[in-house]
């Protein structure tokens, strides 16, 4: 079943993230694809993540297809204008890529080419509209396409954004612009997430909760202080601390698995998106502990 069919059928979907490497040595990345193949429903292929230049997302999506892993093309608006974005959308589609995640993209100042000119000719909401138009046979300027796309398009949302109201307004704009599914920024407080879900459930879209594995109490504190829109509650930090250095990662995996199980069992959302950030090999372990394998 395709990723789209899985989500639409109401089955709890699982996606994970593959970050293309910087350079032509793709052995490790292919190894990660190998590990994830047959276990997850689709893999997000990041687009110059954190504004750090890497192999293009489309190229790696194509490799994923060849490896039997359904890709979700992450597309940011940072590096291409509307002509480049649309050309790549058509190009990716003819290569067999069917899912696209439309995002604005981290600013170049976060990355490794700080002198680059940031583009942002369009942004996430407008990119979603572009995809919707192309699915209906038109480019952004209203010209007819010789052959439309049939993308399953998604977007991102940050349920713990502070203040939350502007974020929710943008979420609604993304729904109106045609987003069919959402992957959220990492969430750690399930009760608070339920409040967000109560709002999101008014709309006919699929929501996948973002899961980032906590490797240590230090990492949790770092994220609280420096990563926008992420709030790790104190009780989880205490749990990691109590586990001690040796057991911290294992505890982090348990926390992720516990959250996934709860989200699934209580039917809180439609799936999870696991961002392992360098620990792709741990994804099967998390899924196993969550009772998904």
């Amino acid at each position: 079943m395709s990723f789209k069919d899985i989500l639409n059928s109401g089955k709890f979907a699982v996606t994970a993230e593959i970050g293309p490497p910087k350079g032509t040595d793709i052995k490790e990345m292919l190894h990660h694809m190998e590990i994830l193949r047959g276990k997850i429903d689709a893999a997000n292929i990041t687009d110059n993540q954190s504004a750090v230049m890497r192999i293009s997302s489309i190229a790696v999506c194509k490799l994923a297809l060849e490896y039997g892993l359904e890709p979700i093309l992450q597309m940011t608006c940072r590096d291409r204008n509307r002509i480049g974005l649309q050309a790549d959308l058509l190009g990716a589609y003819v290569l067999g890529i069917k899912n696209v995640l439309c995002m604005t993209g981290d600013h170049v100042s976060a990355g490794d080419h700080k002198q680059a000119k940031p583009v942002y000719d369009v942004e996430s909401v407008q990119l979603l509209k572009i995809v919707d138009g192309m699915n209906n046979g038109k480019d952004m300027a209203g010209n007819d396409l010789k052959g439309a796309t049939d993308y399953f398009q998604g977007a991102v949302v940050t349920p713990e954004s502070n203040p939350i109201e502007p974020q929710l307004m943008k979420f609604e704009k993304k729904v109106k612009a045609g987003a069919k599914f959402f992957q959220t920024q990492a969430i750690y407080d399930i009760e608070k997430f339920k409040t967000f879900m109560a709002h999101a459930r008014q709309f006919n879209v699929k929501i996948m909760a973002g899961i980032v594995v906590l490797k240590s109490a230090g990492m949790a504190n770092f994220m609280n202080n420096f990563v926008p829109g992420i709030k790790v509650p104190q009780n989880l930090i205490d749990e990691l601390k109590a586990a001690g250095k040796e057991k911290a990662l294992d505890t982090g995996l348990n926390i992720a698995a516990r959250h996934i199980k709860q989200l699934k069992d209580e039917k809180i959302c439609d799936g999870v998106h696991i961002m392992a950030i360098g620990m792709e090999d741990k994804v099967p372990a998390i899924m196993e502990r969550a009772g998904l394998l």
């Binding site: 604005t104 942002y120 000719d121 109201e165 502007p166 109106k176 829109g229």
Partner: protein
Amino acid sequence: MIATKKREFKDLMENIKDYKSFFLVGCSECASLCGTGGEPELAELKETLEKEGKTVTGTFRAKTGCQVLGTKVELKPFKEHLDKTDVVIVMSCGAGTQAAVEIFPDKPVYQSNDTLFLANMTRYQIFDERCSLCGECILDETGGICPVTACPKGLLNGPCGGTNDGNCEVSPDIKCCWVRIYERLNKINRLDDMKKTREAKDWSKSQKPRALIARTKEEKKK
């Protein structure tokens, strides 16, 4: 106004090292307010150049240095000084420099400043950028705060995921303009403006180089 910043003197020196005599042109408008092209700066550069063994044939502060005709007329009395001059150094903005290039077709013109942005002066000699001259203003829809300029990504439909407790992902020194817009629209009871989806900007409206004839036909004849 236009914000300008003095270049390092050694960089200016590197550009003008082959020449001996200079005429300095400041500006009484923005460059004076920025402290880059007023009387004190003209005097300072004159002194520095002379210390380096150069000759300064004259200094002059234009009323409005970007105004080509006006500045040309103002410079007429300086003809003698200018005839003895190898190079004109302009101490205003890039527009002032290019006015001088037009006024002095036969002389090299160099500039002592970098030109930064269209500026609001918030306190004496403290400037920030609030409008980037996009050619099609959307302030009426955004509570009078410009996201094209105040958001490093120029987003038109609300905050990105990087918005951080009211600050911008790019720097904690920048407030997230979409939180500012949200708060202001909330205050003036116009939150509905934020719910409208804004189309992508029409950048053809700011295709360079831009030109404008603001006067009417009749005036032109006169």
